[in-house]
């Protein structure tokens, strides 16, 4: 007599009992099957990355980044902030030395980069418009902000607007007073706006890749001070924004064998570039931002939350994974 068979197709199982389904995929009972995730990837496999730049005409720089089913559009728009508009503006005295820290502080104190992430575009059923930004959107915005300011990718020299136009060494008009030439009249403020078109997990990596790709694409107009109009005017040409380094974010989630109970019991898997289903099943998430553009690997940021599985050794091993990801992303950027 035939066994009463109760079979469902894979998507139904994934919906009904996601945790056992993912566990069975990663740990198949049949020895011949290779362990893989529900989406068919191996645990250390990230989704392929596609980057398109300069597709928007109203922004000074733009990029569309797509990893699997996560799509994010980033646009950078530069606006002029005259020094008269800055409350408590204090020009730098001649004797003050300009250091790396003072340059970073200048960007931070005058808010010269303004990143914002918009999730409420219906990119996933949980993000609908008409409500204030969700906790995730706020966290992502502030993470991008702190990384953007902290990594020193944007240099304040590119954002300064001088009275006599671009500051040049030599070749100045002799009649004009040297001191007046060097007067700072304003700053460029970079508004970095990110819009999620489609959301399928791992938003930070996608958003950060979009920010980096857009910064590399951004051209800021050449600006000078107009004495007659007493304002900053721009000529038609634009100058490429200098971007230092290429930090790449790499996230992974830790999947535990036991759905409930104390973390640390049973086996675990580290899933690189988690999708929406995996993110809902994993509590511990690790993100590392590395920059290998100078030849050696430098860690720009490291974040880990939600559990205690990832130990010191695993963290060290994760640097290698992040390096691998850096190579993939930098290849996609070109």
């Amino acid at each position: 007599m035939a066994q009463p068979a109760l079979t469902f197709p894979r998507p139904v199982f994934a919906k009904l009992s996601p945790h056992p389904f993912l566990l069975r995929c990663l740990n198949p009972s049949d020895e011949t099957e290779t362990p893989s995730r529900t989406n068919g990837r191996t645990p250390r496999e990230a989704r392929p990355l596609q980057i398109h730049t300069s597709s928007l005409s109203h922004a000074h720089g733009s990029a569309v980044v797509r990893t699997g089913d996560t799509t994010v559009i980033c646009g950078i728009r530069a606006e002029v902030l005259p020094v008269a508009q800055i409350p408590q503006y204090r020009p730098r005295a001649a004797f003050e030395e300009e250091t790396e820290a003072s340059r970073k502080a200048e960007i931070k104190n005058y808010d010269l980069v303004v990143p914002n992430i918009e999730l409420a575009t219906g990119c996933a059923p949980q993000f609908l418009p008409g409500v204030p930004p969700t906790a995730l959107a706020q966290t992502l915005s502030s993470r991008v902000y702190s990384l953007l300011v902290g990594s020193g990718m944007v240099q304040v020299e590119d954002l300064r607007i001088w009275k006599g136009g671009e500051k040049e060494e030599g070749g100045m008009d002799v009649d004009v007073d040297e001191e007046e030439e060097k007067e700072l009249v304003g700053y460029w403020v970079l508004y970095v706006d990110l819009l999620f078109v489609s959301f399928d997990g791992n938003p930070f990596d996608a958003a950060w890749t979009a920010v980096v790709a857009t910064l590399k694409d951004t051209k800021v107009p050449v600006a000078r001070w107009d004495d007659d109009r007493e304002t900053v005017v721009c000529s038609g040409e634009a100058k490429q924004l200098g971007v230092k380094g290429l930090p790449v974010a790499c996230s992974a989630a830790v999947f535990l064998e036991k759905e409930y109970g104390e973390p640390g019991e049973g086996r675990h898997w580290i899933l690189l570039d988690p999708d929406r289903l995996e993110e809902t099943l994993c509590r511990e998430v690790v993100t590392m931002v590395v920059d290998c553009s100078s030849g050696e690997t430098r860690i720009r940021a490291m974040e880990k939350q939600g559990g205690t599985v990832i130990s010191r050794e695993l963290m060290r091993g994760f640097v290698g994974v992040a390096e691998q990801r850096w190579k993939e992303v930098s290849k996609a950027m070109q």
């Binding site: 109203h58 219906g122 706020q138 403020v189 508004y191 000529s235």
Partner: protein, 287 residues
């Protein structure tokens, strides 16, 4: 008070860049002119299923008419639902339609904020009217559907100055795009409609500055014409020969009713062109 849930940027006001040189000679030599005939629309690209996590989604892009710097319209639409209404809401015998239209901050010449402004609300309510006539609402009692359109890039010329390019005419094109893209997304979500609704725009334009002859064109690009006298946006169901929404704006001589009728007729014509693209795109996905 500043929005504390977002990163607001500097406390002082920032000004968008002002360009000074070469503007005069550029507008003289490179002013865009309409190269296609008065009864032809721009090429449109429509694709459904761009957001897999939504019930239905579509992306629409209108071609740039032959010149870099003129941005085409880029729209993305997602549909969520039909789904049950929250318990607190009163009984509804038919589906509750919620529409949101939002410009991306980088969509237009002026940077837009994240809060919805009156124009966006206006577009949202027009879109709702247009779609309500097409959806068979009483098939889903006690349920709701959300339709969200993000305008990634508006239909505006970057070169035209602010005085010349009146924003209100751009809204017409934006609305017609919104209707078409939302209709495609509804079909992708599998929500029953009596027909595919599509949007079309016709305008009464003057080619010479002072007293030229006014003529009617469909799918107008405001920067290509000296002056737009009036425009209308039509949402039209072709097989039932019904108009679900009509938005008319402008200034028209009242002595001749025929001009008005002709304008609406041309709007319907534009809508039929859009509908052809729509039906082709949907039949590709349905197979």
């Amino acid at each position: 008070m500043a929005d504390r849930r977002r990163i607001n940027g500097p406390a002082g006001a920032t000004i968008p860049p002002i360009f000074d040189d070469g503007v005069d000679k550029k507008t003289a030599s490179q002013k865009p002119t309409r190269s296609r005939p008065a009864n032809a629309v721009r090429h449109t690209f429509l694709k459904t299923g761009v957001t897999p996590s939504a019930s239905g989604s579509a992306y629409l892009e209108v071609e740039v008419p032959g010149k870099p710097g003129v941005s085409g319209l880029k729209l993305s639409c997602t549909v969520h639902g039909p789904r049950s209404l929250p318990r607190s809401s009163p009984f509804a015998p038919h589906i509750i339609l919620t529409t949101h239209v939002k410009f991306a901050p980088f969509a237009t010449k002026q940077r837009r904020g994240y809060l919805r402004d009156p124009t966006e609300r206006d577009l949202g309510s027009h879109l709702e009217t247009a779609l309500r006539g097409a959806i068979i609402a009483d098939r889903w009692p006690k349920s709701g559907v959300d339709i969200i359109v993000s305008i990634i890039e508006g239909d505006q010329d970057r070169e035209t100055s602010k005085e010349q390019g009146d924003e209100s005419w751009d809204m017409m094109n934006a609305l017609s795009g919104c209707i078409t893209v939302a209709s495609a997304a509804l079909a992708d979500a599998g929500i029953d409609c009596v027909d595919t609704v599509a949007g079309g725009v016709a305008a009464l334009v003057r080619e010479e500055a002072n007293n030229g002859v006014a003529k009617i064109v469909i799918d107008p690009v405001p920067s290509e014409h000296v002056k737009i006298e009036a425009a209308c946006c039509v949402a039209y169901l072709p097989t039932r020969d019904e108009i679900t929404n009509l938005w008319f704006k402008g200034d028209m001589p009242d002595d001749n009713m025929n001009t008005y009728m002709e304008l609406v007729q041309q709007g319907i014509q534009a809508s039929k062109f859009a509908n052809r693209v729509l039906v082709q795109s949907i039949s590709e996905t349905v197979g």
